[in-house]
Amino acid sequence: MVQRLIALLRRPFSRRGSRKPFWERPVPEEDPIVNSSLAVPMAVSSLLLMVTLIWAFYDEGWGLRPWRAHQDEFVERYSTFLRGLKPRQASQEEEIKASEGYQHLLRQQQEAEADVTPRLAEITAEEGAVDARLGAIEKTFATARSEIQATIYLIETTSGSARKGYEEDREELEQRRYEIVLPGEDAPQELSYVELEDMFNSLKEQQGKVRARKAAVLQRPSRVRREMQTYVANRMEGLTAGQVQGLINSLDDFEYGIHQIHNGDMGLVDRCETCHLGVTAPVTIRAADMGGMELFASHPRKELLDVHDTEVYGCSPCHNGNGIGTVSTDTGHGRYKHWLWPLYPPENMEAGCLRCHGDAARLDLAPVLSAGREQFRWRGCWGCHPRQGFDQERLALLVNQKDVATLEGEKEAVRLLIERTVARADEAETNEEANRLYAEADSLTLRVADLDTRAERERQRGRQLLEEVKTPGPNLKEVRVKLRRDWLPGWIENPHTFRPTTKMPRFRLEEDQAQAISAFIWQSGVNGDLEEQAQGDPEQGKVLFETRGCMSCHAIGEGDEAVGGTFAANLSRVGDKVNYDYLVRWINNPRKRTLPYCPTLKRDITPEDYAAAGKPFVFDLQNNECPICGGTLQVQNPTVMPNLRLSMEESRDIATYLKSRAPGAEYAAAAWLEDSELAPKGRAMVRHFGCAGCHEIATLEEEGKIGTDLTEEGSKPLERLDFALLTQTAKREGWYNHKGFFERKLENPAVYDEGKIKEPLERLRMPDFGLDTEEITQLTTYLLGSVTPEDRVPERYHYRPRDQRSHIQEGWDIILKYNCMGCHQVAPGQQPLVKSLPLYQQEDWREQLPPPLVGEGARVDPNWLTRFLKNPALDEDRPHRNGVRPYLQIRMPTFTLSDGEVEKLVRFFGALAQQPLPYLPKKLEPLSQRELTMARQLFTHPAAPCLRCHATGDLQHDRNATAPSFELVSERLQPDWTRRWMVHPEIIQPGTSMPSGLFQREENRWIFALADLPIMKDYEKDHADLVLRYMFQFTRQEQRRLRGR
């Protein structure tokens, strides 16, 4: 057989190659089955089997465990990095140790140790002696004790004769003598068990006493040593050299294998750290430190890990991906066909936050996501798309209206029942029967009263909600009074030509559609008389526009030259579209409507209606009862633009200025707007395109939303997203996923109509917002994060604070809704837009900036803040000024917030400053007569600068004041904050013009620093406190007194 094999191998290939195929070969003369050998095929296939087996082992050990190589590499690179880090940290540590503070501590420590050395030696010797004696008897005693206790247990658990035997054993054991040799004694002693026990106990007691003495002696040195450690740790950036060495040592025992986080409660198994080995490392590792390996870098935003313990939350609940997968990068990251939660791309990483923080209006640590949500809110995406957490006011209002109707119905039913009961009582045959029925009617009357109360409460809430409802777009009922007629069609066709930055999107309208819509909008507008206004002074108007705060929200100037906020419309060309008279009215009070709207009757109430009811045609927040049905009227324009409390003259100036800015364009006459035949079609189109989602439009005030619900859009099955004819392209180009769908849709909302043959009304309706790439990423992140709440993380892990933190969440909604951050700094690190305006770059104007509101909750009394927010002028008689800072040109406007909103804002500021609830005003000690005299002197002393800036309520004096009035102190401020402010204004508000260093520290009190007052000489108490107490009882009389001086 071997020979045959050799022969086979020897046969040249050429001959083998020329052989015929097996089915054409001649039949051999010998039996091929008997004579042929299977050795070669057998050998080859056995070899293959071996190779396969080895392959299988390799695959099992390494092929399916690519992380093994990573771990090897990590250990190598990490230890190199740590070794490089150690000397740096060590030298830093050396530096700190060389510092005066540390040396001081070191001296203290040496001193303390030297102090205790002799005493310590004495105690240690004593301790040694006791320990030695204890050691000598401990073993004998322990043995004896266990034997006796075991016997006792036997006695306890047996009975009869066996028990007798054990009792004898016990007696015998107690009689036994134990031989012990105490140290320093030659002769052994013989002791009974009881004696032994006594000796042991007394020695133990001695030992305890000695140890306590030792600890007392060592107390001071060890305290100083701890202080030294803390001193170093607090000043070190990163770890100390010792800690780094600890890390290097720990690498010797590096655990090769799968590193897993398991949270059974969440069903979480995350093995990400098997490869991403440096993520939670105690040192900051950059990719460059590890030879450019991004894989081994530590988490780039450690502040996130500080609040999300990785041992609890793992990685995948935030980042997505397949936490269990370790076979390859793609499996671990979930980037394969059937995994529902692929890793978020880096630019959308923050989408994961929304899984648990679904209700948050703003997340400080997730700027992109927060911006996405703000885009969604500000652009009014929720006008068409239902989304949990948006349009809550309108939804609540609908529920409220139903509730009121139900209660009213119930009341009516009870009233009828009363009438019937009384009627039955009147006809009753017996007196008892009649009395019983009357009593019943009486009790029913009580129910009516109860229902009345409830209905009234609901109505009150309804009135608030009516004030809170704001629409993204303006009220279109005003078009006839507000706009130039011929301007309208061009705007509807493409708003971006007139105003490129407008948030009104472009609808892809056919010409006839645009015409019909324009005509309907024009004809549905209400008619009203506008007061005729004289022209103002444009120069003055420009100054007012720039200084009153308009530009915190509005920009002016076209294209790159635009200056001002983007929150509201760019007003460069507003003069081309509006009537001057209307503009004046709007600037004076943007909430003023031409006609009030009755939500019950679902129509606007005209002067004729008022006349018919015999009432004057007056409607505002105080007179908001419907003359026909008695329900509450919508008396405001649903705009967030506040009332700046400008005088009529100022309003005219600004309006004239805006008019003068407009280029004065002419528009083609569009008489057909009055064609009533177009209106029905226009109304259908307006409904079709969902215009009423953002605008108030006559007859369509209660239209539903036309868009798809986006609450859980991010976890919608991919198959439900209609890529239409682009499906195959998307699959091939690799964007057949949620991100790809959202991005392309946002970039070009008609993209999925591409190539489709559709009737105009069947086409995709989403309009074009002209979003830039950054905004698309923000919105995509927000949509990707909008997932089913229970998806992957159980609800109990979601962020639902029940404490003050929930007030912060509620408050942000309102802060963003009214753009408070246009003028004020609300959160640390955030800059108000107004600060970036050119005007406020000038030195003189910097003091004219609105106050920052960081820490506002600690600064002011919440009750006062409530009053202030309701009316920032603080004085009904003098509305055209700021209540607190009359010296500022910029004006804190009146937002006409509802009571609920005011409450939320007050709670928000309180929560941000971590103020305890409920608010308890602090009582200050009243001033004694002597203290009063001192305080007055101090206050009015020429060296004290208080009165140089602060107003006092004295008109003469206040003309030059540049700081809030002392008159407000007691009701406005909180004493604790005020004290801190007087002492350290620079720390509370860097850059403030309030001078620091008014007081200086002396021992445990602050004393007035700027002058030495003789009267203060033997005053022992805190000077700052004195001034504080004086300020908090500062009254009008006192002020008059001061003036008298």
Partner: protein
């Protein structure tokens, strides 16, 4: 020609057995027939030479003097089987190392995958659902296939062809099998894999599986073609049509069975029950291609519509 789509179907781990089947089934069919024809030639020789036939156990053609007349199982059969075992083990191991189990997303009751396909070995049955009522295609037919396969030894009256390849001696059985397995079963699996795309629509190989594709395809029942709408008549017309099919094809099959001298001999040995069983099974098998043609060519959905079942 959409090569990407074709590659996507061919490379799907689920479809590996079917791709292999396309190659292996024709090969082994050809190989078996080659062997059978060789034996047939030997049979002709031996029939002419009864003396040689007497001691001739191995059916090998052309027969050589030096070849043994008998071979033992050990080692001649078992060693080949061992070799085959090793090779198959190698193939299975390589397969399991290189291709993972094709797992999919967690089941979502609100979302049916499209196309929604059975495991490859059931794709033929799934394809049958297009042509028949689910009860017939999903329950009746599979049961009959199993029962039919079990019944073969009891209705097979042909004693020849045991232990060697032959076509000559078992023409009828082999042709019936080839029709039932190769033409019906295998081809339907291939159709189910390669041809049926989203919406279970017919996509020629190389066409893009477009989820948005629309086709105009209206199926009618036979009675609608004839303009009959009233129920008892509808059922009666269907019953008549089915009866006609049974009669016509029964006669044709009978003719086919009796077409050769040899078959007539076998037929003579059969009892009535055996013959009826054979006829029933064959008629049902033939019904499948008939229905496929009716459905695909004439767009007829049901032939026999009754309130209880449709055929």
């Amino acid at each position: 020609m959409d090569w990407y789509q074709l590659w996507e179907i061919v490379s799907l781990p689920d479809n590996i057995p079917i791709v292999a089947m396309i190659v292996l089934v024709p090969f082994f069919t050809w190989y078996a027939f080659r062997q059978a024809f060789a034996t047939d030639r030997l049979i002709v020789q031996l029939e002419a030479d009864p003396k040689a036939a007497r001691g001739h156990y191995r059916k090998i053609e052309p027969f050589r003097k030096g070849w043994q007349q008998k071979l033992h199982v050990w080692p001649y059969l078992l060693r080949v089987e061992l070799l085959a075992t090793v090779i198959v083990t190698v193939i299975l191991m390589v397969w399991s190392i290189t291709l993972n189990a094709p797992l999919e997303a967690p089941a979502n009751p609100n979302l049916t995958m499209n196309p929604s396909k059975a495991p490859w070995y059931f794709l033929g049955l799934q394809e049958m659902l297009v042509y028949f009522d689910p009860w017939i295609a999903g329950v009746l037919m599979p049961t009959l296939i199993i029962i039919g396969l079990m019944a073969i030894p009891y209705i097979d009256k042909n004693p020849l062809g045991n232990g060697y390849y032959t076509f000559r001696q078992r023409k009828f059985a082999i042709l019936a099998f080839c029709f039932g397995f190769l033409v019906l079963w295998s081809v339907m699996i291939v159709i189910g894999t390669f041809i049926r795309g989203p919406g279970w629509m017919w996509f020629w190989p190389g066409a893009t599986w477009d989820h948005h594709r629309l086709v105009f395809e209206t199926n009618r029942d036979l009675h609608e073609l004839l303009g009959i709408t009233q129920q008892p008549f509808v059922a009666i017309v269907g019953a008549v049509a089915i009866g006609l099919y049974l009669a016509v094809f029964g006669v044709l099959l009978h003719k086919l069975i009796l077409s050769t001298e040899f078959n007539r001999k076998i037929y003579a040995r059969m009892t009535l029950i055996q013959y009826i069983l054979l006829q029933s099974l064959l008629l049902i098998m033939v019904a499948l291609p008939v229905k496929i043609i009716l459905r695909l060519v004439f767009r007829i959905k049901n032939v026999w519509v009754t309130p209880w079942f449709n055929v």
